[in-house]
Symmetry: C2
Subunit: 266 residues, 2 copies
Amino acid sequence: MTQQRSSRRIAVLLEYDGTAYRGSQYQENGPSIQAELEASIQQLTGANVRAAFAGRTDAGVHALGQVAAFDIESNLRPDEFVRGLNHFLPDDIAVRSARDAEPSFDPRRDARNRVYRYAIETGPVRSPLRRNRAWHVGRPLDVPAMAGAAQALEGTHDFAAFAGAYEGSTRRTLRRCEVRDNGCGRIALTMEAEAFLPHQVRRTAGPLVEVGLGRMILDDVVALRDGAAPSSAQPAAPACGLYLVRVEYGEFAFDAPAEVGNGQDG
Amino acid sequence: MTQQRSSRRIAVLLEYDGTAYRGSQYQENGPSIQAELEASIQQLTGANVRAAFAGRTDAGVHALGQVAAFDIESNLRPDEFVRGLNHFLPDDIAVRSARDAEPSFDPRRDARNRVYRYAIETGPVRSPLRRNRAWHVGRPLDVPAMAGAAQALEGTHDFAAFAGAYEGSTRRTLRRCEVRDNGCGRIALTMEAEAFLPHQVRRTAGPLVEVGLGRMILDDVVALRDGAAPSSAQPAAPACGLYLVRVEYGEFAFDAPAEVGNGQDG
């Protein structure tokens, strides 16, 4: 007699180094986080499932706390999913935590808050140990000026200028847009919102660095905020500095250790 | 008429990610930091030179502040060496600073103090963004016990038990042997001495983790210190957690930015 396996929706918290991937979502022509996760699920359980992700991350973008969910018939405990999937996943992807979710749980639609961080380095020489982990600007930046321009973006605005191609409303509410000097030539931009537009963090980090270099001023950023043409905020900062730090839900939360990855503090 | 080029000894401060290399010194069968540096010098200046290093680092060991020196006939300014060599070096090696040195300068023999750091992570899940950057022990460690055992190693002792194969005196003076909890599951061991024995830091980190896990106690470490058999300290911690942080000389110093690499703070 075979033991009956229960049908469940499992949610996992993922950390990954996005350098080697075309992005989080399945891609025909290259490796993706989704394809690796689905392959590890198949190796662990034999089941061929589709995983849904909280947020799409582009090629080269990292995550400390991406959330994915999939349906599966299995009696494995959550900690067995963590150990088992990590055994099969490549060393640049890991499941940090797993838990059962409601059958209706949708990691993308149910998200109430997303936290992204963008890492910038100002030191004159590129750092080999931080390559693919931060945007090496390589010049001193006026952090107070950047912080002031960042703050002007908080609140509810039409962020069309800060978005890549997008059909639909470009009105969003930025709960937090904060620039911090972490010392040793490291600067971090942290942005929080229920939802972001495509490329919004990178197209915000780029102009803020222009402000830091003295090539743009607060008024230029305010003008972008107040009705400039779509996608007119330039440049888009490179993917390697961007981290999806955390996705927050209503009552749903993971039991997970503190962030230990490379997203810089603050 | 060709401009006369002056003969100089140039010293460079190096940062590297040692993951892809067989070690700092030239190896017949694989890539080395030395071979890459010498190749970049040849590409920049046309000269085929030999570079001498302050310390040998093993395969997979990293450096934030390795020092190398070479003789060359060139009129390039130090900042031109920095930019030029970094242009030709692979992205996992960089020259952080360069300067003229006395013709007698010997980066190995003239060193008065060396600082190594060993990075340990205790979180239950391996971190993709810290892979090849720390030893993932994956279990909680008793940091005060480790710190106490580390302190017992400070001072002048016969460190034969903590060394790999070595001919010659194994008496050394450890100026500093300190274990610190940097939070978020990160623990750093910092060791300072004028000179170290082969594998000494890794063969110290291994037993200290045993103490942290409760498998060894202070008395076991003291026994290793006080005349145990050569190489009897076990295990040797893996190479990926080790960083050569800094080499100090008498009056000779680099004009260099603060450490920004991945050697953890403290």
